[in-house]
């Protein structure tokens, strides 16, 4: 199947999008960027390919008589069983890596290695035995990334095992920290057929799908055998120059965000993207072509990392900030968008007895005030307005933005896509498609 690929190597996550010849999205993939952009790019691409196969599988199954109406339920089963197979394989590799690390480096402080080997066996037995429950249909709420999930599960089990056997918890975790890097940098793409076959076997055991075994197996076989013929590929994002692409296949993320936002919301004229390390205000024309843009200037104050820093200061997860801030009744005024100064202001406010939600609401407003200044510099806000980037997922930031937009620019429709994190990669894939068309012409 002919397709076009866009890759967005961001500072925090790497995203990939597959498009077909009609510019329809076939699949999307995301992974954390790690320190290794090459692997991040490969993994995101593989994830996008898997997602594309799943979407095609769903289309095929939906067209099977009498099965069609149950396609969503069936896909939920197939997806979770696939994810389970993937997870179990990664756990197996992780266990092997942990054993290798232990064998290679021993245990610091001259402790005997054998009890740690035994502890690893116990920890991984527990991780494997609890996996199935984690990947039951419609039960997944964990992070998309194996690292995040494995870390929280391993820490929990390691604590139990270390306490019971009198081993050092820190040393047990130290082994994991070294091993997880290796697992993150391993490609699991070659196991796709194996995972899907497993998912298929497990799913057809389910009562309501038994009678469709033949249809399901055939559709699974077809999408497994399907070959993707990548006609063109374009890379963007901060790590774009590390991609093994010729220069012509590299695009600035400004252009990709502009085109990606236009694709998602064709009436977009102004795009605000608040990412990990920069804030971009982009004006686009009716075709999604950028006409002007502004970015944060000499410092990255008020970007996504600011929220990450605040979350660390408050000992919270970054995803918890928005919901807590949204509870504020009386937001405090935070003057500084300098990340470091805001940390100091935060501590001072806490010591003065201000409520956490009120301080957080003030911090969110401070970020948006900075974004407003960048929007003004780029020429203002025109209808429709599209908000993208990781911060667009934060409800308190969105609320502050809505309020300030209304104050400054009146009632401007604001679009936020649930897939906004893929805006840059979508734009890149569209450029890949257009470049290819141009070359054909």
């Amino acid at each position: 199947m002919d397709c076009y690929v866009g890759i967005d190597l961001g500072s925090t996550t790497t995203k990939a999008v597959f498009l077909d010849s009609s510019e329809r999205i076939l699949g999307r993939g995301i992974t954390n960027s790690r320190s290794n952009y090459t692997v991040a790019c490969q993994v995101a691409r593989e994830e996008a390919e898997i997602s594309a196969r799943f979407n095609l599988l769903k289309q095929r199954l939906a067209s099977v008589p009498r099965l069609g109406e149950r396609a969503d339920e069936l896909m939920a089963w197939l997806s979770c069983k696939f994810a389970l197979a993937q997870h179990l394989k990664q756990l197996k590799v992780l266990q092997q890596q942990c054993q290798d690390v232990l064998a290679r480096t021993g245990v610091k402080g001259g402790e005997d290695r054998a009890p740690y080997e035994q502890a690893l066996v116990q920890i991984f037995e527990a991780l494997v035995s609890t996996s199935e429950a984690l990947f039951a249909p419609n039960q997944r709420s964990q992070s998309d990334f194996f690292r995040d999930l494995a870390t929280s599960l391993y820490l929990k089990e390691a604590e139990k095992v270390a306490r019971a056997s009198g081993l050092s918890f820190d040393r047990t975790v130290g082994i994991f920290d070294k091993a997880i890097l290796q697992v993150e940098n391993t490609s699991f793409a070659t196991f796709f057929a194996e995972y899907l076959a497993f998912a298929c076997r497990e799913t057809v055991k389910v009562e309501q799908f038994k009678r469709f075994e033949q249809d399901i197996s055939q559709a699974v076989r077809e999408v497994t055998e399907l070959k993707f013929n990548v006609l063109s590929e374009v890379g963007t994002g901060y790590g774009r120059l590390t991609l093994p692409f010729p220069k012509e296949q590299i695009r600035s993320e400004i252009l990709c965000h502009g085109l990606g936002a236009h694709y998602m919301f064709p009436k977009t004229r102004t795009v605000l993207d608040i990412g990990g390390q920069d804030t971009k205000s982009i004006q686009v024309d009716e075709s999604g072509i950028v006409t002007s843009f502004q970015m944060n200037d000499r410092c990255a104050a008020g970007c996504g990392r600011y929220l990450g820093y605040i979350a660390d200061e408050m000992n919270m997860g970054v995803h918890q900030l928005g919901p807590l801030a949204a509870q504020s009744k009386n937001p405090v005024r935070i003057n500084s968008t300098c990340t470091v100064f805001a940390g100091a202001e935060l501590r001072e406010r806490l010591s003065l007895g201000e409520k956490r939600e009120d301080i957080l609401a003030g911090l969110h407003r401070a970020i948006i005030l900075r974004a407003m200044s960048i929007l003004a510099r780029s020429g203002g806000v025109f209808s429709e307005f599209t908000f993208t980037g990781g911060v667009a997922r934060n409800e308190a930031a969105v609320a502050a933005l809505k309020e300030l937009l209304k104050e400054n620019y009146g009632d401007v429709p604001m679009n936020i896509s649930p897939d906004s994190i893929f805006t840059g990669a979508t734009g890149a894939a569209l450029f890949a498609r257009r470049d290819s068309k141009k070359a054909e012409a």
Binding site: I254, L255, I289, T291, D297, R377, G379
Partner: protein
């Protein structure tokens, strides 16, 4: 980003000639006391070089020393030295670099010590910082200051009264003080001779600027242009060396026009000119070559720039006129680029964009130069509106290396160039 080493950099013959001229000048400065010559510190915009030469004094330009220190990677340490002495982070970095250099022994770009001034000649007051700068130097050196108050072109023109006001100051206070410091009476005929020489060099320079209308452009009017303005804005305007330099440079450029060749960059000839740009604002000096590479690496050539008119706008018709020495000097002081109001600056850039068939324009907003930076965002918007050509806005500093964020600037420029490409691709023509 890689930095090109000095050894493998390509240079034009005129650049080598200029280096020799500068070397000779600094050598003469180092021996000034021994030669019995008086030294005048003065600034570049609208300077009175011919008058200095008429008194047989030697000029020193502190901004040029600062930018040279920036290019030689010495400015960071000099700025720190000035900050240690109490100058705030927000003070113009040219000033701090110069003060730091002075405190570290006043060693010039050729490695020789610069002489202390016998006179501080403040011939342009449009930049308030210049006044403060010379106040500081006066305190250090205890020498007299000749202050020429130059009215700002608030209404966008030089009125006869403004010109007369400057002429009166020249006649009544500046020249008498220079006579006193030099111990010589002004020889008007000698001054006219220098002014005539300036005018001839200015003719050649204008032909050089004009050559950028060709496609491909044989020059880069910003990154190459800062070399081209070296002799005329610094010590050499009015001297035969400057005339010789501009003749030679013009011949070099004419040869490139005939051969349809592009300008010389540190990595060789810029052959494939994909983008023709106008640039507003001074360059960054601490990462000058990396900055330049961000343009020529993408096939961008600058066809006109405002910074290269900071000394004077010869290309808009001004010529030093030997027949009216005081009036012409007054007009020169009044006419420099930063003495113009925002609407006139916008008009000028608009003309450049149209006359030089530019694809767009770039504003390099300098943190520590309010003379240039104030109002640049408004200029950007207005120019985009008038010309329909896209503008880019980047930010850096003159000589403070802490304010050059290479990755960010490159990111913006790459985006900008791709934006022009995307617009072209989507344009029906």
């Amino acid at each position: 980003m890689s930095t090109t080493t000095t050894a493998d950099v390509e240079k034009e013959p005129s650049m080598i000639l200029q280096k020799q001229m500068i070397g000779d000048h600094f050598h003469e400065l180092a021996r000034a006391k021994e030669l019995g010559k008086k030294v005048v510190y003065t600034f570049v915009p609208g300077n009175l070089n011919e008058l200095i030469w008429a008194f047989d004094m030697l000029p020193v330009h502190p901004e040029i020393n600062a930018l040279q220190s920036g290019m030689r990677k010495k400015s960071g340490a000099y700025i720190q030295e000035a900050e240690k002495a109490g100058h705030s982070e927000d003070v113009c970095t040219y000033v701090k670099c110069d003060l730091g250099m002075m405190k570290k022994g006043n060693i010039g770009p050729t490695g020789e010590r610069l002489p202390a001034p016998d006179l501080l000649l403040l011939s342009y007051t449009g930049c308030f910082t210049f006044m403060k700068w010379f106040e500081l130097l006066q305190r250090e050196y205890g020498c007299p200051v000749a202050m020429l108050h130059v009215p700002y072109q608030g209404d966008g023109e030089i009125t006869p009264a403004m010109k007369q006001y400057v002429v009166d100051q020249l006649r009544d206070s500046v020249i008498p003080l220079m006579e006193q410091v030099s111990g010589k009476k002004l020889d008007l005929e000698r001054l006219k001779g220098f002014l005539g020489s300036s005018s001839r060099a200015e003719d050649d320079l204008c032909a050089i600027w004009d050559s950028a209308k060709h496609k491909p452009s044989p020059i880069d009017s910003y990154f190459g242009g800062v070399y081209y303005i070296g002799p005329i804005f610094s010590a050499f305007r009015g001297l035969p060396q400057a005339e010789e330099y501009y003749k030679s440079l013009r011949a070099e450029v004419d040869a490139r026009v005939a051969a349809k060749r592009g300008p010389t960059t540190p990595d060789g000839e810029l052959k494939d000119q994909k983008f023709r740009l106008v640039v507003e604002g001074p360059p960054n000096w601490t990462s000058f070559r990396d900055f330049w590479k961000m343009f020529y690496g993408e096939g961008a050539v600058v066809v006109a720039s405002t910074y290269t008119k900071v000394g004077g706008l010869y290309d808009r018709g001004f010529r030093h006129d030997p027949a009216n020495p005081l009036e012409t000097m007054a007009e020169y002081c009044l006419g420099c680029y930063t003495n113009r109001n925002l609407p006139t600056r916008v008009d000028l850039i608009e003309k450049y964009i149209e006359e030089f068939a530019a694809d767009g324009f770039v504003v390099n907003s300098i943190k520590s130069c309010n003379s240039f930076s104030a109002g640049q965002l408004l200029m950007l918007r207005e120019l985009e509106k008038r010309t329909g050509r896209p503008g880019a806005f980047i930010e850096s500093d003159l000589v403070d290396p802490r304010y050059f964020s290479g990755a960010n600037i490159k990111n913006r420029l790459d985006s900008y160039f791709q934006m022009i490409d995307a617009k072209r691709a989507s344009s029906p023509t």
